[in-house]
Symmetry: C2
C-alpha cells in the first residue's frame, strides 16, 4: 500500500518557487469562498514519525489566512476529558462552518498505538475503527469535508531523518527514545496503518498517502490536494443547494400530507387512565426521593454520571417531573439544561455539538428539558431539517447515545404522554392561572393542530431510537402524580441496577 | 450586623399564598423585559449552612422561566480549573446579557472558609476580598446587576435546623460532621462574614441579609428584592441609553478632533533605524530558537504557562514574528489565537470573556494575534466603545493581567512598531506580490489615515497598562530581522528569569 510513497519523490527549489505563489493565491481564494459555505473543512495529519506532520500543518497555517484556520494537537487526556466519552475532546474542537480545522493525529492516534502495543485485540481494534467511521460519516453527512493525510517514510528514510534531526541542535529534542523504539517496531506499525487506512477510507473522508521525505514535495502535494478538495466540495454544495430547494417542497408536501397513519401508534396504545391517590403519591414521593438521594450519593462517589432526557407534549408536565427529582440531589451535582433556540456558534456546527458541550463531569446528573430529539420532532414537522437530515438523525443519535452508555453513563429518555383532551384542559387552566399564562403561547395552539403529525413522528422516533442500550420510557401523564412517581421510580431502578 | 436577621421573621401560609402569584407574574414580566436588555443579572447566595441557600435558588428557578436562568454550584476544583487563575471557573459561567445566573457560594466560599481555618492571615484575606471587589466592580461597570444574599440563622436557630433535618430521612444527608464542626465555630464564621459583607457591599453589588429560618419569609424576601433590583436596573438602563446617545456624539467629536498631540509619543521616541545583517540574523535566529526550545520544555514540565500578546501597526510583521517562535515549540503545546470579530455569544458577555475562554492549561503557550487591547485602540478610535467604556478598560485590563501574572503565568505584550514610511512601502509591496495582496484591504488604507490618532491611543495605552508586573515591549520593526530576533530574545530572557 505504501510502495508508491517510497519512490523518493522530489521537487526542485526552482519548481517549488514557481508553483507556490499561485497555489497560495488559490488557497486564499478558496478560503474566501469557503467562508460563505455551510460546511467545515477537517484536515487530519497522521503517519510515520518524522514524515513532516507538524511541519506541513505549520506550512498550511502560513500559506492561508490564519483567522479562518485552527490547528489542534493533543497530549495526554486531562482528568476532565477522561471523564467524558473518548471522542468528546475532538467534538468540542471541531471547526465551525466556513472554517478549516487541522488535527494532528487526533482520533486515530490512540487505537492505532494501542493495537501495535497489543493493548487492543483484533476485535477491539475493529470496534474502535468502527466508532471512528461512524463519527466521520456523521460529520461528512452533515456536509463536512474531511481530508486525511498519511505522511509516510520508508524504514530507511525514517532512520535517515531521525539521524539528521539529532544532529540539528534546534530539532534534536524531537527525536526521543520512544521514536527509536517505534522505529524498531516499524513493520508492526505499518501493518496496523494499512488496516486502518483500508477500513476508513470512505468517499466523503478519503485518505491521501504522501511521501514525506522531501519538504517541498510533501508541501505542494498536501496544499494541492486540499485546494482541489475544497474546490470540489464547494461545487457540490452549489448543486446540493439546488436539489434541496426542490426537495424541500417535496418534504413539506409529505409532512403536511393526508396524515395516512391509521395504525395504532405507541402513544395511542398507552393507558392514560393510570393514576395515584394523593396519599399514595405523598408516600411514594417521599420514598423514592430518599432512595434517589442515597443512590445518587453512591453514584457520585463511584463517578457514575446520569443523563436524563425529557420530551413530551406541551403541558405534559416535564418541568414538574424535573422539580420532583432535583430536591433529592445536591445543587453541586446536577444541571438542568433547557433547550432553547441555538446561538449562532451552535448553528455553525453539527446539530449535536450544542449537546456535546453540556456533557458534565463524572458523577453528575444532567437533565435535558427537551433535547437532540428536536431534530426528528419539531425540526422534521416544521421543515427546519430536510427529510434526508432527519432520517439520518436516527442513526446519528443512536451512535451518540451508544458512546454515552458505553462510557458508563446512565441514560434515561422519558416521553411524557397526555391525551389530547387532557392537553386542552391544561391549556385552559393555564389561561386562567395568572402566573402560568406565560407558559402558553400561540405556538402551543398551533402545535396542537399538528397533533397527528407529532403522534406519527413520535412513533417513528420510538421505533428507531428505542435501543437495547437506551430504551425510551413512555410515561402515562394524564395523572401528574402517577407520572412523577413513575419518572422517579424508573430513575431509582436504573441507578440501582447500574450500581449493583 | 446580623441582629435584625435573628428576629424570628415569619410569613403565614395565607399571606404567602396571597402574595406569591402576583410576585411570580411580576418576576416573569421582568424577565421578559430583561431579555431585551444589554446586561446580565448575577444573583449570589451565601451564608450560614442550613439557612436555605439551595432551596431558595430552587424556588427562583421554579418561579421564573427556566430558559433564561441558570444555577451554578461549585465543588472541589478540577485539575483543569486549578491550572488557571482562581476566578476562571466563574468567568466561564457568567450569564449572558438578558439572562439570570444564580451562583451558590461561588467566589466568596474559598477565602471565607480559609480565613476561618486560619489558612489566610488578615492581610491575605484582605487581598482576596480586594480581588473579588475588583472583579465585581468590573462586571457592574459593564452593566451587570449583582445581587448578593447572605442567608442567615442565629446559632440556636442553626442547631434547631440541623436537628430537624437529621430527623427527616430525605434530608438527613445534608447535615454532615463538618456542619456540626462549623456550628461549634459559629462565632469565628460570623466574624469573617461581618468583615466580608462590610468590605464588599458596594452600590452596584449590594448585600442583602435574609433571615433564613422561615421558608416562606425568606422566599418572598429574596423574590421581592430580586424583582425590585431588576426593575430599578431596567429603568436605569433606559436613562443610560439616552445619555450614551448624547455622549456618543461627543466622543466622536473628540476622537476626530484636531489631533492636538504635539508632544512626543513613546512610539515617536523609538529608534527605527535598528537593524541586523542577514548573517547576524541567521545566527541569532538559530541560537534563540534552540534556546527557546530548551526553556519551553523546562517550562512545560514545571507547568509554567506563557501568554504572548502581539499588537502593532498593520503590516508591522506580527505574523512573521509569530512564525519564528512556533517552530521551536511542540504543536501540542501552543495555540495561536487570531482575534477576529466577536461571535454573538461573545458579544453578549463582558468584552474580556472571549479571551478568558481561550486561556490554556498549565505549561502551554498561548499566542494572541491582536488581543483585548482592541478595546483601547480600534474600538476607541472607531467609536465602537464609548469613552467611559474604553477609559475604564485600562483598569480592567490591568486587573485581568495581574490575575494572570499572580497565577504564575509569563505574560509578554509586544507592540511592533514601524514608521509611517515603512508601512507605505510594505503596503505597496503587498499590492505587487500576488499572494500577499489579500492581506491588504481598504480598511488598512483607512486606518493609515488615522495614524496620529492611533499614535496617541498607543501612547495612552502604554502609559496606562505598562505595569511592573506586565510591561510593554516596544519592538522597532522597520527591519524585520531585528524585530524578530528582539521578540525571540525577550521571550527567552523572560522565560529564563521565571524558571530560575
Amino acid at each position: 500500500m505504501f510502495r508508491t510513497a517510497e519512490l523518493g519523490q522530489k521537487v526542485s527549489k526552482a519548481e517549488y518557487n514557481d508553483r507556490v505563489p499561485d497555489l497560495r493565491i488559490q488557497l486564499l481564494e478558496a478560503q474566501q469562498d469557503l467562508r460563505q459555505a455551510n460546511f467545515p473543512v477537517i484536515v487530519l495529519f497522521t503517519g510515520v514519525d518524522g514524515a513532516g506532520k507538524g511541519e506541513t500543518a505549520n506550512l498550511l497555517q502560513e500559506w492561508m489566512d490564519p483567522r479562518w484556520i485552527v490547528t489542534r494537537a493533543y497530549a495526554r487526556k486531562s482528568e476532565e476529558e477522561a471523564e467524558r466519552p473518548g471522542l468528546w475532546r475532538y467534538w468540542r474542537d471541531l471547526p465551525r462552518n466556513g472554517q478549516v480545522g487541522i488535527f494532528l493525529s487526533a482520533w486515530y492516534s490512540r487505537p492505532y498505538i494501542e493495537r501495535v502495543y497489543g493493548k487492543l485485540n483484533r476485535e477491539q481494534f475493529e470496534e474502535a475503527l468502527d466508532r471512528i467511521l461512524t463519527f466521520e460519516r456523521m460529520l461528512a453527512n452533515d456536509g463536512a469535508l474531511i481530508l486525511k493525510f498519511w505522511m509516510h517514510l520508508g524504514k530507511k528514510a525514517q532512520e535517515k531523518r531521525f539521524k539528521k534531526l539529532e544532529k540539528d541542535p534546534l530539532h534534536a529534542w524531537r527525536v526521543t527514545k520512544k521514536d527509536w523504539k517505534h522505529w524498531k517496531m516499524y513493520d508492526e506499525f505499518i501493518d496496523a496503518a494499512e488496516h486502518t487506512i483500508m477500513k476508513t477510507s470512505i468517499g466523503r473522508a478519503p485518505w491521501t498517502i504522501v511521501e514525506g521525505a522531501d519538504e517541498r514535495y510533501r508541501g505542494l502535494k498536501v496544499g494541492e490536494t486540499l485546494l482541489n478538495g475544497i474546490r470540489r466540495r464547494l461545487a457540490e454544495a452549489d448543486i446540493e443547494e439546488a436539489v434541496n430547494d426542490a426537495e424541500g417542497a417535496y418534504v413539506l408536501g409529505t409532512a403536511n400530507g393526508d396524515g395516512a397513519t391509521p395504525r395504532t401508534t405507541v402513544l395511542q396504545a398507552l393507558d392514560t387512565t393510570k393514576s395515584l391517590s394523593k396519599d399514595e403519591y405523598s408516600k411514594s414521593l417521599e420514598k423514592y426521593q430518599a432512595k434517589l438521594n442515597l443512590l445518587h450519593r453512591k453514584a457520585r462517589s463511584e463517578k457514575v454520571s446520569v443523563i436524563l432526557v425529557f420530551e413530551g407534549w406541551d403541558a405534559a408536565g416535564k418541568g414538574g417531573a424535573i422539580r420532583r427529582i432535583t430536591p433529592a440531589l445536591d445543587a453541586r451535582d446536577y444541571q438542568v439544561i433547557p433547550i432553547a433556540a441555538p446561538t449562532d456558534e451552535e448553528k455553525a456546527h453539527h446539530y449535536l455539538w450544542r449537546f456535546w458541550r453540556h456533557l458534565s463531569r463524572a458523577g453528575r446528573v444532567t437533565i435535558f428539558d427537551r433535547s437532540w430529539y428536536g431534530r426528528v420532532l419539531v425540526e422534521r414537522i416544521e421543515g427546519f431539517a430536510s427529510e434526508t437530515e432527519w432520517r439520518r438523525a436516527y442513526a446519528e443519535i443512536n451512535s451518540f447515545e451508544r458512546a454515552l452508555v458505553e462510557h458508563g453513563i446512565v441514560l434515561i429518555k422519558y416521553w411524557i404522554h397526555i391525551s389530547k383532551e387532557e392537553q386542552e384542559a391544561r391549556f385552559r387552566a393555564r389561561e386562567e392561572t395568572s402566573y402560568k399564562a406565560w407558559k402558553l403561547t400561540e405556538e402551543d395552539w398551533r402545535n396542537r393542530e399538528r397533533w397527528d403529525e407529532y403522534d406519527a413522528a413520535v412513533n417513528d422516533m420510538v421505533g428507531q431510537t428505542s435501543t437495547r442500550l437506551a430504551p425510551w420510557v413512555l410515561v402515562e401523564g394524564d395523572d401528574k402524580r402517577y407520572a412523577r412517581v413513575k419518572v422517579l421510580k424508573t430513575l431509582c431502578d436504573r441507578l440501582e441496577e447500574r450500581l449493583k
